[in-house]
């Protein structure tokens, strides 16, 4: 039971805390804060840290400042990590690789790369010697396994570093024994421990020697940020080579034995239900078809190929019950939102004060990724295994267990890297559906949603209105009110539970308000000194399948606010940039704004029909600013491209971002670029149209997400020097400022302030595909489009 390298523990299992001798004097300075790490018993070296952050909840309670200034959604997600007992572990193998299973989901946001960088930094190991995989659902991690709110790096940063530092210390200790050296004579570099007289041992050679037979609790200190050589260095994605060679595997690329292609014939109206299948025998006789089963979401078909599933889906004759929104359209839902709007207060105006009001509308949007919803499920009588892209796998595991009537412990949920998420994969929709189908067919299934199913039955970003009122006196803003009213957002992916579980620690302003209002208040922060500021959310209508799409409320709220601020600036007779700079509260927000103004040459002369727009956003402990140039001249707007919406072209974008401590500037810039593409689409082109209970869109040539012909030919992103020792969020931070800047530029170029988004919504730009059958026929004329 002895640890070959350390003192005998006083009892079996966890030894009392000791300082790991690996705290080599060369690197560790005495006054540094110590953390608890663990050496876990194993065949090779395994170290661990509690996946939680030190208690910091005794932070001041905010009163005057708005809630997010002191305690935002990121704090919430990090804090709720405290009560869990789950450990994260790093295993050093005999080949010298550090292996780590990240309890988060990679969906393209680059967290496997940044995580590898963090481990490489603290372990003194090359990044390509770190293997990061995705952990399956681990119920004991409770809220610690939710990828959302851009919080991955913020909440995992310290625990991962502690585990890596513990491993390094242990390797040094083993090397000291082997080399007969003292710890102060040893250094580490690129996976090698270097000793006196040119002697050295690789981590691979030490991986067994450094292993422990018992679990040990040790204290470690972490590298100082001034010594970082990996963190903060632009690093390319670790999975890039697999991606460009086609080797990267997504869910439907996995070859699970007998998990044959499966699709669902879905109801013609949103959330309708199957009543009866009228031609089961005929469908079963179709080429390739092996199974047909009625489930609550439609008629499921399993076949040899997905193509044969599509043919069979199209052949289904069934009776359907209309869904709960069967008679609704855009206008009726907008009217309902209007009825739910809480009146704006009428402030007592000093003499000569002026009041400005504005109202903006945001249409339904699809949060679908390019990889449609998909999952593999193998449900047996006594157990189930599921493979899916899941950002909240523990919640999905519970829901799957319930859906197939098995105890949670019998459901194994494997997390697979996703082909994009944008909030879509917070929910286990496809995983739950696949499990139900597998149970009904008593066979493994590989479920894929048809593209047409995604906009029509998938998650949407809710329709909303934002109303604003401000009063001004002599160019100063005295009051600022915002009333955001929205179709309800579904938070059943775990964020809700996380919030409730930490409610006791929330600032008083949040106690007693509803869940959505809480999340709204935690994320929305007006960065301006505008006297008395109130921002409120009101929700209505829970009949839609909603979710957050790359930021929850911020893109719509920022778009409304920044357009309104341009109006206020105009009223005050000030330049939009000068007006913002005069009223912004925080230095980091001013700094990003000044940066884009300078790099983007704000105020340069522009031709008629073209204009610049500028906007800022503060959230996720960081600040972003965006400057765009837009071309709204007829020759540009009226470009014709088949089956496309061309419209105004954003010709140039400059972003500046302060995201706190930046692990990977290259990855951060990539996230900003993605945010800009989303922002352009949200402002100009992409929305869903609800008509008589159907969402009309069924294709990427109906739902006009940004395409090459809408892409700015010029893009630049400046990452601001880090002023914080803590990483902020990146995945969502690029959207709000960019949608706002595009809207502001459009208003200036056309002289018309748009009030409905996207601005293209009221133009019908495509031919609607059939609802029965619910998916289009597979074309056969592909060879006439070769190039």
């Amino acid at each position: 039971m002895n640890d070959p390298l350390g003192p005998t523990p006083t009892q079996a299992g966890v030894a009392p805390a000791e300082t790991v001798p690996g705290a080599a004097a060369s690197r560790r300075r005495p006054s540094r804060r110590a953390f608890i790490g663990y050496v876990v018993s194993g065949a090779t070296l395994v170290t661990a840290a509690q996946f939680a952050q030190p208690e910091t909840a005794d932070a001041a309670i905010p009163s005057v400042p708005q809630i997010p200034e002191l305690f935002d959604l990121e704090d919430l997600e990090t804090q709720s990590a405290l009560p869990t007992s789950g450990l994260i572990t790093i295993t050093m193998d005999e080949q010298g690789y550090a292996n780590f299973a990240l309890p988060r989901m990679e969906v393209g946001q680059g967290i496997t790369t940044s995580t590898a960088m963090i481990i490489a930094e603290e372990l003194d190991l090359p990044v390509d010697k770190v293997r990061v995989s995705l952990a399956p659902a681990r119920p004991e991690l409770v809220f610690n396994q939710l990828t959302g709110g851009s919080n991955t790096t913020n909440s995992t940063f310290t625990p991962i570093r502690v585990a890596a530092a513990t491993a390094r210390g242990r390797l040094l200790q083993a090397a000291a024994t082997q080399l007969g050296a003292t710890l102060s004579q040893l250094t580490t570099k690129a996976g090698v421990v270097l000793g006196p007289g040119g002697k050295s041992l690789t981590y691979a050679e030490l991986s067994i020697k450094a292993a422990s037979l018992v679990d040990l609790k040790v204290t470690v200190t972490l590298k100082q940020s001034a010594d970082f050589t990996v963190i903060g260095t632009p690093t390319k994605r670790v999975d890039a080579r697999d991606i460009v060679t086609g080797a990267k595997k997504f869910v439907t690329d996995l070859d699970v034995p007998d998990a044959l292609p499966t699709m669902v014939c879905r109801p013609p109206t949103l959330n309708g239900k199957p009543v009866a299948l009228r031609n089961r025998e005929q469908v079963l006789r179709m080429p390739g078809v092996t199974d047909v089963a009625q489930v609550d979401t439609g008629i499921a078909i399993r076949a040899k190929t997905f193509g044969q599933c599509i043919d069979a889906v199209r052949a289904v004759q069934a009776d359907w019950a209309g869904g709960p929104t069967a008679s609704e359209s855009d206008d009726s839902i907008l009217a309902e939102i209007r009825r739910a709007e809480v009146p704006l207060a009428v402030p007592k105006l000093p003499l000569l004060a002026v009041q400005l009001d504005a109202k903006f509308e945001f249409m339904f949007r699809s949060s679908a990724a390019l990889e449609p919803n998909c999952a593999i499920a193998d449900v047996r009588d006594d157990s189930a295994t599921v493979w899916a892209g899941l950002k909240a796998p523990i919640v999905a595991q519970g829901n799957i267990a319930k859906a197939v009537g098995l105890p949670v412990s019998k459901v194994k949920v494997n997390v697979v890297t996703g082909g994009g998420s944008f909030g879509h994969k917070l929910f286990g929709d496809a995983a739950i559906e696949a499990a139900k189908i597998s149970k009904a067919m008593r066979k493994p299934v590989k479920l894929l949603w048809h593209r047409a199913d995604e906009p029509r039955q998938g998650r949407v970003h809710p329709m909303a209105t934002s109303r604003l009122r401000a009063t001004m006196l002599a160019g100063e803003v005295l009051t600022f009110e915002q009333r955001h009213t929205s179709v309800a957002t579904d938070f059943s992916h775990g964020l809700g539970e996380m919030l409730v579980a930490t409610a006791a620690k929330l600032p008083p302003g949040l106690v007693g308000v509803g869940l959505s209002q809480s999340i709204f208040l935690l994320t929305q922060e007006l960065p301006y000194n505008f006297g008395v500021v109130t921002q409120l959310l009101n929700e209505t209508d829970t009949r839609f399948n909603t979710g957050s799409m790359r930021a929850i409320y911020s893109p719509d709220v920022a778009c409304a606010n920044e357009l309104f601020i341009d109006l206020l600036a105009k009223k005050a007779g000030k330049d939009p940039l000068a007006f913002r700079l005069a009223n912004l509260k925080q230095a980091n927000v001013k700094a990003v704004l000044q940066k884009v103004a300078q790099v983007g040459n704000w105020g340069r002369p522009m031709a008629p029909g073209t204009a610049q727009g500028i906007a800022v956003h503060r959230e996720y402990k960081g600040a972003t600013a965006c400057l765009v140039e837009i071309d709204c001249r007829p020759a540009t707007v009226n470009r014709t491209i088949r089956d496309a919406v061309t419209g105004p072209r954003v010709t140039k974008v400059v972003m500046a971002v302060d995201a706190g401590l930046v692990v990977n500037p290259e990855g951060l810039k990539a996230q900003m670029l993605g945010g800009v593409s989303d922002g352009i689409g949200l402002a100009l082109t992409n929305s869903l149209h609800l008509k008589d209970g159907h969402f009309l869109e069924a294709s990427w040539d109906n739902y006009f997400y940004t395409r090459q012909w809408n892409t700015p030919p010029e893009f630049e992103c400046v990452v601001m020097p880090s002023t914080s020792s803590e990483p902020g969020g990146a995945g969502e931070a690029g959207v709000p400022a960019s949608v706002a800047a595009v809207a502001c530029a459009y208003a200036r170029a056309t002289g018309k302030v748009p009030t409905r988004f996207p601005i293209n919504h009221d133009t019908s730009s495509f031919e609607v595909k059939s609802f029965v059958p619910p998916v289009p026929e597979s074309p056969t004329d592909g060879l006439s489009y070769t190039f």
Partner: protein, 158 residues
């Protein structure tokens, strides 16, 4: 079911499958060649883009019965073998520009890019912004700008 034969990534392959199954499913579901992705199945998203006899095509919209035994189909998995280096210059350019995010669209993007550059070359031109605007491939992660950079860079080495 009929036996169908064609050249896939340099090797003659034979499959036994119904005539009207689209080539994408022959590749993915029958032959387990999963580089070409499904994103729509109706020749819109271009995630499945591959090459037939050196030209870009979308296998989701071509029946296997319309493929001849001499037709050469190249997927992302076989692209590197069509050039001299370890990777195709366009793949190298993708790495250099760190284009990919989730990666789902990228095999199709690279195959489309190579064909687009070859098309311009055949017309005696270098690739222009107008050519890039014609590329229809969807990237829902919004990597478009880096795709443009990579295509220009890759074209210079092709």
């Amino acid at each position: 079911m009929t036996k169908r034969s064609f050249v896939l990534n340099g090797k003659q392959v034979t499959v036994d499958v119904e005539d009207d199954v689209r080539v994408l499913w022959v590749l993915r579901d029958v032959l387990k060649v999963t580089g070409p992705k499904y994103g729509c199945g109706i020749n819109v998203c271009k995630a499945c883009t591959s090459h037939i006899n050196g030209k870009a095509f979308n296998p989701c919209s071509v029946r296997i019965a319309d493929i001849k035994p001499t037709d050469r189909i190249t997927t992302i998995e076989g692209l590197a073998d069509t050039a001299s280096g370890e990777l195709h210059p366009m793949q190298e350019a993708w790495l250099e520009q760190d284009v990919a995010q989730c990666g789902y669209c990228q095999p199709g993007q690279i195959m489309a890019a190579v064909a687009k550059v070859n098309q311009a070359k055949a017309q005696g031109r270098t690739i222009s912004d107008a050519d890039l605007d014609e590329i229809r491939n969807v990237c829902r992660c919004g990597t478009y700008f880096r795709i443009r950079q990579a295509i220009k860079s890759g074209a210079a080495k092709m």
